[in-house]
């Protein structure tokens, strides 16, 4: 460090040399995500590890692990002397609903009359099954680097929603996995205390899922507009709706 606080640099000439790293920011990882992936593949030949690239400027690529090997891989990442990812800063969930992907296949049909071949477009709809995903952000307190991002995917969104808990590896995952269990409905196996965290125990829904239907308590909306007005309309007589919407052109 040049001895001056980074906020005090005034002109371009005073900028630090390029190899300077801010002491208060997290240094980037010593290994790239590809290198980590390659090492993991060597170490766990049976595991399926997919590198999910992040095209954004942050370029925080993540590793999609298969559920069976995830606890072993997590323990390896924590204990590996090069990485020493001893701190799980964040666990969150993602709901990927089923998605219909429409593809258009073009086939050229030769014209029997001898003209130019006709091109017939055929629409195909492929249903991409959805899943529930847990995302872990790992840092190293010892080596002061990070993050390494892990993703775990359930088999589907309905009945196979089990993932192995990483709380035995990182104690910090406890509440965050409980929150994901509460709001997304992922069941974490071998979690020491898997109960709902935010909603009450009798609650059955998972509010952060895309297909969650919230309770309809829009019966009294004195200043409704936008989405609230749409919900409140179910409770209004047609006459009131007309007043609220104004005269029809």
């Amino acid at each position: 460090m040049s001895g001056r606080h980074p906020l005090l640099w005034t002109s371009r000439s005073q900028h630090p040399p390029l190899h300077f790293t801010f002491t208060h920011s997290t240094p980037t990882l010593l290994e790239t995500a590809e290198q980590i992936r390659d090492r993991l593949v060597t170490r766990f030949p049976a595991a399926q590890i997919v590198l999910v690239p992040n095209p954004g400027p942050a370029a925080e690529h993540s590793l999609l692990l298969d559920a069976t090997h995830a606890p072993d891989i997590a323990r390896f990442l924590r204990d590996d002397p090069v990485l020493r990812l001893d701190y799980c800063s964040n666990v969150t969930g993602v709901d990927w609903p089923d998605k219909d992907i429409t593809g258009i296949t073009k086939t050229s049909v030769p014209d029997p009359a001898g003209g130019p071949p006709k091109i017939v477009e055929q629409k195909t709809v492929r249903r991409q099954p959805g899943c529930l995903e847990a995302v872990y952000h790992l840092y190293s307190m010892a080596l002061k680097h990070g993050p390494v991002i892990l993703r775990l995917c359930t088999a589907n969104r309905i009945d196979a929603v089990t993932l192995p808990s990483l709380t035995p590896v990182w104690r910090a995952c406890d509440f965050q996995e409980r929150e994901i269990f509460d709001l997304y409905g992922i069941v974490f196996e071998h979690h020491p205390d898997l109960r709902r965290l935010l909603m009450w125990d009798e609650f059955k829904d998972h509010p952060m899922r895309k297909d969650y239907v919230e309770p309809d308590d829009y019966e009294w909306e004195p200043t409704a507009h936008g989405a609230v007005l749409e919900r409140a309309k179910a409770h209004l007589t047609p006459a009131t709706t007309a007043i609220k919407e104004g005269p029809k052109p």
Binding site: L198, M199, W200, D201, E202, F203, K204, D205, P207, Y212, E214, P215, D217, E219, W220, P222, A227, V228, H235, L236, T237, A239, T240, I243
Partner: protein, 222 residues
Amino acid sequence: MEMSDPAVTPAPFPAAGNITDAEREELRRHGILLTSLEELYNWGRSNSIWPLQFGLACCAIEMIAAATARFDIARFGAEIFRPSPRQADLMIVSGTVTKKMAPQVVRLWNQMPEPKYCIAMGACAISGGPFKQGYNVLKGIDRFIPVDIYIPGCPPRPEALLHGLIQLQAQIKGEKLTGPDAARHTRPEEPSEFPVPEYGAHDLEPPHNPDVWSPPAALDKP
């Protein structure tokens, strides 16, 4: 202060109920204080409203500020925040009432002895405020318990809370103890406890108490 209706209860002191304020003021100038039990009782109650000490969100910070020397809620005799509902006269619902917290708030209200009063402090306690579209936020505590004073604001300033408290004092000072328009807590048929909502599978059961709150019908008329 007007005394009780002589048709219902015999007046304990002949002229006490019929004397005008001007006549009473005249007596006071001669060193004779004339009052009624009702007035004395309400004067004492309104100047020692002990709130229940609990806060639900950022409004509670303003409530705490109202208790500090700068705003000094002690000027109105309401500085003794009680940690037990058994000793409290006033419930200040200061902040967002989540659906998970609502049964506890109603249960505390049921544990408070009569006469008791409720202030809904801030937009959240009144209607859910900025969180009213949330699946987990109760759209106003008045869906489960009767509210005497509503203090709008997000959060209301301590001055607003003091103003609400003064309004409540005015309400208490005007309460009758007997007669057809007697105060709520003197009438045995008025409920003192309210059903505590249960945690349901999708929402609170019931989502609101129809005896306490129902959507205003005026909106639904053409």
